[in-house]
């Protein structure tokens, strides 16, 4: 009997301790950054590629870490900016907005040529990049998605979703080093576009017709992380399953069609190792195995003051893009099992009574009103029936603007 008690006691202590041990890495607190001194350095964000378009060079300064990035402020304006190729041909860039310099529209780099960037500021300070060769980019062979469960940010929650991948069957023409960009768009067509609207007023709600067409919207998004891959260790010149983007399955809760465009940039090995350092710093944060962080200088140097650190990179790349369109039903079937289609789940709600009565039920105690009523808070009036009944629908299914914007992208097919 005594022994038994002892075992139980010990066991509960064991659990207590283990909970403590294994939650160690989640013991994270916010830390005030006030003590850190701000260092103002020039940043050069410059890209040219083999695609004919206005290429952009952006010149600005670093901002303090307790401020938001404000691209329009603290820029380097009034500089002379140009690119020279290895044959000596010079292309000038012109400042259109403060700090933003653009090449002529027809300018395109050529594979096999090398380019350098030159900057002379209004004060006469000179900067120059190293010479970068342009490598052609191979075509992306496939874009597809697969069900994945990802871990939440610093929480132990898991997020079901899909990972978009690409394959490149033949990378033999590229530089073997790639940086990817994506932009995607969700098309949202709601099943109950609202015809009427209940507007709160002094005496409850006024029901007025709603004339805007809010049936069809588009939600666009862009990459915000470095996506790098290399085929240098691939045994057969293939790039297989390069992860490009993860989407929470709930991103598709009201999506009807979806499109993603992926741009593959064939970059120089030096650019790759520059980005790789930045990526390592970004991903190693908070790890027990922190990497050595420090200043990352790109390929731009000051010709006047060798001590001056210049940030940023003059990237020269061959680019190839691939866009796909798909219905939400084309997601990995396993992911569909986790997908909760809001409008299918809630449908419309026919109600006899006033708008006030519809919402008043919400004020009842939870035990009386039951879970059905609680959902009414998410519903809004969409239409009126022939016999004065009211039709309500989930707000996501009544107004597409809640999950997108009415502007249809020009490229949407």
């Amino acid at each position: 009997m005594h022994r038994l008690q002892y075992t139980t006691r010990l066991y509960s202590i064991l659990i207590l301790n283990l909970v403590l041990i294994f939650s160690i890495t989640s013991c994270v607190e916010e830390f005030e950054t006030d003590s850190i001194e701000y260092e103002r350095l020039l940043v050069v964000d410059a890209n040219i590629s083999d695609q004919a378009k206005p290429h952009q060079v952006r010149l600005f300064y670093t901002s303090p870490i307790d401020n938001e990035i404000q691209n329009t402020q603290d820029v380097l304006s009034g500089a002379a900016v140009w690119v020279e190729d290895n044959l000596g041909a010079r292309t000038d860039f012109f400042e259109q907005d403060p700090g933003y310099y653009y090449s002529p529209e027809d300018f395109a780099g050529e594979a096999g040529k090398s380019y350098s960037l030159f900057i002379t500021t209004a004060e006469g300070k000179n900067y120059k990049s190293t010479t970068e060769e342009l490598y052609a980019a191979p075509q992306i062979s496939r874009v597809y998605n697969k069900f994945t469960i990802e871990l939440g940010d610093r929480t132990a929650n898991t997020i079901p979703g899909v990972q978009f991948f690409i394959d490149v069957d033949d990378t033999s023409i590229g530089s073997k080093f790639y940086r990817y960009e994506w932009s995607d768009v969700h098309q949202v067509i709601v099943p109950y576009p609202k015809q009427y609207e209940a507007i709160p007023s002094q005496n409850g709600y006024d029901i007025v017709p709603f004339t805007l067409d809010v049936e069809e919207c588009y939600r666009e998004d862009n990459f915000k992380e470095l996506i790098l891959a290399t085929s240098s260790s691939s045994s057969n010149n293939q790039l297989i399953e390069v992860p490009i983007k993860f989407s929470d399955v709930n991103d598709f809760n009201v999506t009807t069609r979806y499109s993603i465009e992926i741009t593959q940039r064939s970059i120089s090995p030096e650019a790759y190792s520059y980005y790789r350092k930045i990526e390592l710093f970004n991903e190693s944060n908070g790890s027990l195995f922190d990497k050595q962080q420090g200043l990352i200088v790109g390929n731009i140097t000051s010709l006047d003051d060798p001590e001056e650190n210049v940030l940023g990179y003059f990237e020269v790349s061959g680019a190839s893009s691939e866009r796909i369109y798909m219905d939400y039903t084309d997601l990995d079937p396993e992911a569909l099992e986790y997908l909760e289609r809001t409008c299918t789940k809630y449908g419309g709600w026919q109600f006899r009574g006033s708008v006030e009565e519809f919402y008043q039920a919400l004020d009842l105690p939870e035990s009386i009103r039951g879970p059905e009523i609680a959902r009414r808070g998410n519903f809004e009036l969409v239409d009126l029936g022939a016999r004065n009944e009211l039709f309500f629908a989930h707000r996501l299914c009544a107004d597409c603007r809640r999950r997108g914007s009415l502007n249809k992208p020009s490229y949407w097919e």
């Binding site: 283990l18 041990i21 013991c27 964000d45 670093t62 930045i278 027990l288 962080q293 420090g294 990179y313």
Partner: protein, 927 residues
């Protein structure tokens, strides 16, 4: 009434001269029990005899006396028996087989001339060495041995004023095991016992009081008279009270006597009541509370000794190198302390027989198993259970030690129904086996083996997300020690050690891959000790090692995977050293220990040397070609002398000053991007581009004991000059890197500091120390990417200027004690972001100069209680409960700081390994 006084001979020492006796005695006996004869004498002459009944139980006497002088009577009675006597006035003291000398030899010689009939002529007896063991059965209370006067050497060879050498073995009287590291001293002369318990002490002939000290054993005193060279063995008793206590200092008086600075011996017993995290007594953790030994934080696997990098410490287990001394990222050391004898920590004044690392040596020895009886020791704590058994194989000759420790965390994790833990996995185990065979007094063989394994998967860490990670240490040692004579001994040992790790990333089926690393080391060492019978004691020998490294292979896992295979070419090297050192006692006050080690290293083929442009930084773009070397080619050889010097000068009985200088060379480097050692560190060899690290250290100290050694204090100051320290280019990626010269940087370093230390013995015991320590590195290459912080000296990752440690233990009763720890240190340096910018749509932080900022200071308090059960010695079994609370303040000490960028907002975060107080309970037993 029997006057049953066992050898209370202290009484006699002052009454130097035996009384000229005129008593005469008459009597007649026929096979009479001697006791009866004594009774008769006592009755007739009013004498008192002191003796132990059992000595004379079986003795009878036949003969007649008629007015015979009493001394002649006594001589006649005990003739032919083992009984010796001393006669003083009306008292007669009997002993069994021991000659009693109560007067200084010169006086007693005179006495012998003046009264030829003096009680006993012990010259014959003294030729026979006396073993304290012979007393064991006769003296329940061994303390009395302390007042006994032993003769050492032969009286016949006595030469007044000359010096003689006394040698012998110090053993544990309960197990018969030799005690290594015991301090044997008399006055200002001291010696420390070797691995077989052997000591050698040079003293002037005459009377001495010898003292022996060793942690966990009672301090033992012996009175001797040294006639000539001779042998004297001493058995020490386990200090019962000390059994489960913190013993603050291993060897009292070692503080001031020891010649080398910066050497501490730590015994396992020391670690028992120091509150430890997760209930494991841990000898290596205790070491981090000593002045000058730091870690970069909780959960950091490596040690930083006096501003040294974590790869600059040589961990030896039974002479074999340990490449990763930590389980589970540093929360536990890889050794089950139950199976350990102790550890020598050397942070300066490193003897010439050790080499290969710049900062320190941690020489860890396994217990020599008990040869008398089976003992079992073990414990259960929150996370692990452990068991150690010592088994005699041949009584008094051979024995076996087997020890194991396991975690059961996996099982527990699975039973907790919480998704947070489902994908985490932590598992480790370690095993120690040692066989010890004392073939005879001259030869001893010991074999030992070690195995440890860690397996874990941590979801929350980005680097190892969904990666299974495992690493293992394997070691084996065989050692043969031989004593040729009293002044010359040798040992030959062979060792093997291996460290491997592997991780698997199988989250993406088509890119599933595994990656591994391994280092193997074969070593052999021949070591000689020669006592020159003068104030010189020589130690010399040679050592050779071979390294085989698999710097990394990557391989696809599963048939679906298209991950490419990468296999870096293996590295091989040989390292050798010759060394000689002399312990030279110039006089009572000044003692020197100087030596020279000459080490050499060869990077062996097969291999490839990459060639780079001369006037460009070494990186993959500047590679111009390569040279291919065949198997066995000497690709690059380095060699150089390492001078070691230590001196001690005794100012008076209680204080001394010491000075040491040493140089070390290191040919093996751990590549690590983190501030501390981590299991993914790669040990790589010096090659044609990576030069050996060389370190010089000068250390000066003042040592003083107070209140007869109850308080020990010291102040040590040191300075170090280092060259070719290995660091990295910013953002270096060294995994699977075949050309480490393209990412590594080498530069000079400097460290300096001062350490104050106070230790106290007694019911309230413990230690307190404060260190001020700085350490800097300079990376000033010829090119931008090889220059950090504009090529000026900057603090290293592990530069922590102020450190305070307090470890204390108060014994409330013999069963119950409480302990308290306090730790403070300055936060380590860190690189902070100082600006923010956006490039190609990505937000990027710009960082300050390397190590320009510091994380917040570290403060921690722990408390512990120890409650003993079955304390009585006779019960033969002990057990104790210990309850401790680690980090009782619940302070969230920062391990690191990091910054997250979210929509242009920078948020700083502080990562704490332990965010709250951690209570632990453990149960320990021994029988």
């Amino acid at each position: 009434m029997r006057k049953f006084i066992a050898l209370a001979l202290m009484l006699l020492t002052l009454t130097a001269f035996g009384q000229q006796t005129t008593d005469v005695y008459s009597g007649s006996f026929q096979n009479t029990a001697i006791e009866q004869v004594i009774n008769d004498i006592e009755g007739k002459l009013s004498y008192t005899f002191y003796y132990k009944k059992e000595w004379i139980d079986s003795l009878t006497f036949s003969g007649n006396f008629s007015n015979t002088p009493i001394s002649e009577v006594l001589t006649t009675i005990f003739d032919g028996t083992t009984i010796r006597f001393y006669h003083d006035s009306k008292k007669v003291f009997l002993t069994n087989g021991i000659a009693i000398i109560t007067t200084p030899e010169i006086v007693s010689d005179l006495l012998a001339q003046h009264s030829p009939q003096q009680a006993e002529q012990p010259a014959e007896e003294t030729k026979e060495l006396l073993f304290t063991k012979e007393y064991a059965g006769e003296n329940q209370n061994n303390n009395d041995l302390e007042n006994f006067v032993f003769e050492v050497g032969s009286r016949a060879q006595f030469e007044g004023g000359a010096s003689s050498t006394m040698v012998g073995y110090i053993k544990d009287n309960s197990t018969g095991e030799p005690i290594e590291g015991a301090l044997v001293y008399s006055g200002n002369k001291a010696a420390v016992t070797g691995p077989d318990g052997f000591y050698s002490l040079n003293l002037t002939n005459g009377r001495h009081e010898i003292q022996v000290q060793f942690t966990g054993m009672k301090r033992t005193k012996r009175k001797i008279i040294l006639f000539s060279n001779g042998r004297f063995d001493i058995d020490m008793e386990v200090d019962v009270i000390a059994l489960n206590e913190v013993i603050v200092e291993a060897t009292r008086r070692a503080n001031i006597e020891q010649v080398n600075t910066g050497i501490e011996r730590l015994n396992v017993e020391d670690s028992k009541t120091v509150p430890a995290v997760l209930g494991e007594k841990d000898i290596l953790k205790v070491a981090t509370t000593f002045a000058g030994i730091q870690t970069v934080g909780e959960g950091a696997a490596g040690f930083n000794v006096r501003g040294g990098k974590s790869d600059q410490n040589l961990f030896l287990f039974e002479g074999a190198t340990v490449y990763n001394a930590s389980h589970f990222l540093g929360f536990f050391s890889v050794f089950n302390s139950d199976a350990l004898e102790g550890m020598n920590v050397m942070k300066s004044g490193i003897p010439a027989s050790y080499g290969g690392r710049l900062s320190s040596v941690f020489d860890i020895s396994a217990k020599t198993p008990n040869k008398e009886e089976v003992t079992v020791e073990g414990g259960i704590s929150s996370v692990t259970s452990r068991l150690t058994a010592e088994i005699p194989i041949i009584k008094e000759k051979a024995s076996l030690l087997a020890s194991g420790r396991l975690t059961y965390s996996n099982w527990i994790l699975e039973t907790i129904d919480h998704s947070d833990f489902k994908n985490n996995k932590v598992n480790f185990s370690d095993f120690i086996v040692k066989y010890d065979h004392q073939i005879n007094q001259e030869n001893r063989v010991s074999l030992s083996g070690y195995l440890s394994e860690d397996k874990f998967r941590l979801n929350s860490d980005t680097l190892f997300s969904f990666s299974d990670f495992s690493y293992a240490n394997k070691m084996a040692t065989a050692k043969w020690s031989r004593r040729f004579n009293a002044t010359f001994d040798a040992s030959l040992s062979a060792s093997y050690s291996e460290y491997d790790y592997e991780f698997e990333s199988t989250q993406l089926e088509k890119n599933a891959f595994g990656q591994d690393y391994g280092i193997r080391e074969f070593g052999a060492k021949l070591d000689f000790n020669k006592d020159l019978q003068s104030p010189h004691q020589l130690n010399f020998g040679l050592e050779a090692k071979r390294y085989d490294i698999n710097p990394g292979t990557k391989f696809p896992i599963g048939s679906e995977s298209v991950a490419g295979s990468i296999s870096l070419s293996p590295e091989q090297g040989i390292e050798g050293a010759l060394y000689v050192s002399d312990n030279h006692e110039i006089n009572d006050k000044l003692s020197l220990n100087y030596g020279l080690r000459y080490s050499f290293f060869t990077y062996l083929g097969p291999g490839i040397t990459n060639l780079y442009l001369d006037d460009a930084p070494k990186n993959p773009d500047t590679k111009t070609g390569e040279i291919i070397h065949d198997k066995g080619d000497f690709i690059e050889t380095y060699h150089g002398p390492e001078l070691r010097f230590a001196a001690r000068y005794l100012l008076d009985d209680n204080s001394s000053v010491k000075l040491s200088y040493d140089r070390s060379r290191q040919y093996l480097h751990a590549l690590s991007n983190s501030a501390s050692l981590s299991p993914t560190d790669l040990w790589r060899l010096s090659n044609e581009y990576i030069e050996p690290q060389v370190g010089d250290q000068i250390s000066v100290g003042y040592y003083r004991d107070f209140l007869n050694g109850e308080y020990e204090t010291s102040v040590e100051v040191y300075g170090k000059k280092l060259s070719n320290l290995v660091d990295f280019k910013t953002g270096a990626d060294f995994l699977l890197n075949d050309r480490i010269e393209t990412i590594a940087l080498q530069g000079p370093g400097k460290s300096y500091g001062v350490e104050f230390s106070l230790k106290k013995d007694g019911r309230l015991n413990g230690w307190f120390n404060y260190s001020y320590a700085r350490t800097f590195i300079k990376l000033d290459g010829s090119f931008d990417e090889e220059t950090i912080n504009n090529g000026s000296y900057f603090p290293t990752n592990y530069d922590k200027p102020h450190t305070i440690n307090l470890v204390s233990n108060y014994e409330i009763t013999t069963r119950f004690s409480v302990s308290y720890n306090f730790v403070y240190n300055t936060g380590r340096p860190i690189t902070f972001p100082t600006g923010l910018y956006e490039l190609n749509g990505i937000e990027i932080l710009n960082y300050s100069d390397r190590n320009e900022y510091r994380i917040p200071d570290y403060v921690r308090m722990d408390i512990g209680l120890t409650l003993k059960w079955g304390h009585r010695l006779t019960k033969g079994s002990h057990s104790f409960w210990s309850v401790s609370v680690y980090n009782v303040l619940g302070r969230k000490n920062a391990f690191s700081l990091y910054f997250d960028l979210d929509d242009g907002e920078v948020q700083g975060y502080k990562l704490s390994v332990f965010g709250s107080a951690i209570p632990t309970i453990s149960y320990n037993f021994k029988f």
